[in-house]
Symmetry: C2
Subunit: 362 residues, 2 copies
């Protein structure tokens, strides 16, 4: 596919980002403040705070920048197990109201720290899949010492076909190129072993489609490669991706927790910590995933960024920045153009029978 | 299933472990010495060194314990990409000779540090699947602060059905109970989200089969749970399991590498390291995966332990110990008894069409 054609679409036009300030563990305080941080630093973006207007105005205060506006939502979807199911029953939930703003062209992007499954479900419900896209994918920026790479899908679609994995690769490439500024992004398939085509049936099919495509396909990458910058876009199915990002969080937290315990152990731990503090800070900077902002949901008709449920204002401000950048780069439009241009024949092999996307995430 | 019936089978009889001393990055030196360490410490086990007899005898030396014997093999399968394919063409490769010893009841277990895919392929070729077992699974002991748990499959079978995942759970439970001594092992399914049944189609089917079984099924576990001792047996399909163990190695190595760099950074790193050395040792002990010995291949007619390609003598001696323990506990026989007893009806749902197992690992 010709990605250079897409670049011309990038513009300096104002973009409007709807922030679901009722979503997340620290809502509405932290989302409101995070949105305000971005609004003050970026007068070129319009920020719409979507939520319980009286509460939101009380938190936001009276001295507001001109580029802040409010849209009321009378309900909210809580962070519990049934969040995704609640999207349909709570019509006026903030996440639904925010998605409808994008659907009705009253906003260009949605940012939410709410329940991931609810965000995905609301996006599919209101924005629908982009033309030609079989299933959406949720992407995340993974940390390495030399910068981030894009990993997808981490939980939007279960039981994808090989063709869907191929589409994830194309969508992830567009995001890496247009939003992260990576030229000719290298694409890898996450699998067992480095040997090309090694893996399960869908990985083998995706390998063939990727080899025949214009994408910069480098073959299989393995689990151990996820800490080095082997590829700029790494593609996998939802269970693999979801397990990887949660294991990343769990394992790095586990190791840093063991270290903290040793640094607190008297008498030698505390003085060792004093000596190592600058080094620990350097390491912490590498693991600062807040900088990535959040996870773009690729393949729906609109820009949707789902950030961490535990995100505080700093991370939320970065998520708003990613949302604004993706909207300005017109990623959803670029994705639609990409798949409309793909000849039917080359994409036919593995179309799934079910017309409705499965909602996998929690 | 009634696991207590199996326990009576455990005996104090001598077991014979065939060690493929030509396999692994440090073969034949390290495998030979590892086997000797075990043989000297455990006169109750007979150890058969399988490999190029002249070279092996030269390494082993003249002062040998009585429980060491030699079987010659004129070929070997190298650690390259095509290792699994070479199993069929190299009839007299050490891994094939070792497997035939078990097949012909001249040994009770095989231990190899050779190419994983070659080990799995040779085991399936010579030992065949156990009666009632749909597909074999490769298990590994994962590290946590409070002891190991069993993760499987990490690469024996691609594209498993839900019924196969259920069988993995039963086989992993037997291993955890009989070899690791865990009473009534808790079984979890590795998936997206904690909600029961959440995941892809095969996870949903496996959930139903596990709920209807006598296994101690605790539901889904997530990626973040893989560092805590949530379950004693965690079941997943090969791509997920393989990515997890390789990511574990990559990520922990990455973090410890960053730390080492900081501890080496003058002027404050080296004195901080001196203060922290005991603490770093305590952490290193938790991450000492050599103690786990190696990965049992469950579901074939014989005990097979595949240890790390980079294993040195210490780890190989532990692998021989695990092989001896699994053979003594008659795990393969227990697995066969388990599945022969399962009524056909309850196991019918998702039988795969292909009769031959796929060989997934590298």
């Amino acid at each position: 596919m010709d990605l250079s054609a897409v670049r011309g679409a990038t513009s300096d036009r104002r973009v409007r980002v709807a922030v679901d300030v009722m979503g997340g563990d620290h809502a509405p305080e932290e989302p409101v403040h995070g949105a305000l941080i971005h609004a003050r630093a970026h007068p070129e973006d319009d920020i719409i705070l979507v939520g319980d207007e009286i509460r939101v105005r009380a938190i936001a205060g009276l001295e507001l920048p001109d580029n802040i506006s409010f849209v009321h939502a009378s309900e909210l979807v809580a962070m519990d197990e049934h969040a995704a199911a609640n999207v349909r029953s709570k019509r006026d939930a903030s996440i639904n109201v925010a998605m409808r703003l994008v659907r009705d062209h009253d906003a260009d992007a949605v940012v939410t720290a709410g329940h991931t499954g609810a965000g995905v479900a609301a996006a599919i419900l209101h924005l629908r899949r982009a033309p030609g896209v079989k299933r959406p994918a949720l992407a995340v920026q993974m940390v390495t010492e030399t910068g981030p790479f894009v990993l997808l899908d981490i939980g939007a679609t279960t039981d994808p076909t090989g063709e869907m994995l191929y589409q994830y690769a194309a969508m992830g490439s567009l995001f890496a190129e247009q939003v992260l500024g990576v030229e000719n992004p290298r694409v890898g398939l996450l699998s067992i072993g480095e040997e090309n085509g090694k893996g399960d049936a869908r990985i083998q099919l995706a390998t063939k489609l990727l080899q025949a495509s214009d994408l910069n396909f480098i073959g299989n990458v393995e689990g151990k490669d996820l800490v080095v910058h082997m590829a700029d876009v790494v593609v996998c199915e939802a269970v693999v991706g979801n397990v990887v990002i949660k294991f990343f969080e769990g394992l790095s937290g586990f190791i840093f927790g063991l270290l903290r315990k040793e640094f607190e152990r008297k008498p030698f731990g505390p003085p060792a910590y004093l000596l190592m503090r600058p080094g620990i800070r350097r390491i912490r900077r590498i693991f600062d995933y807040e900088l990535s902002g959040g996870s773009p949901l690729l393949g729906v008709n609109g820009t949707v960024i789902i950030t961490h449920g535990r995100a505080r204002r700093r991370m939320i401000s970065y998520a708003v920045a990613v949302g604004a950048a993706a909207a300005r780069a017109e990623i959803p439009e670029a994705i639609a153009r990409t798949f409309e241009r793909v000849p039917r024949a080359s994409a036919g092999a593995a179309v799934a029978a079910t017309p409705e996307p499965s909602e996998a995430v929690q």
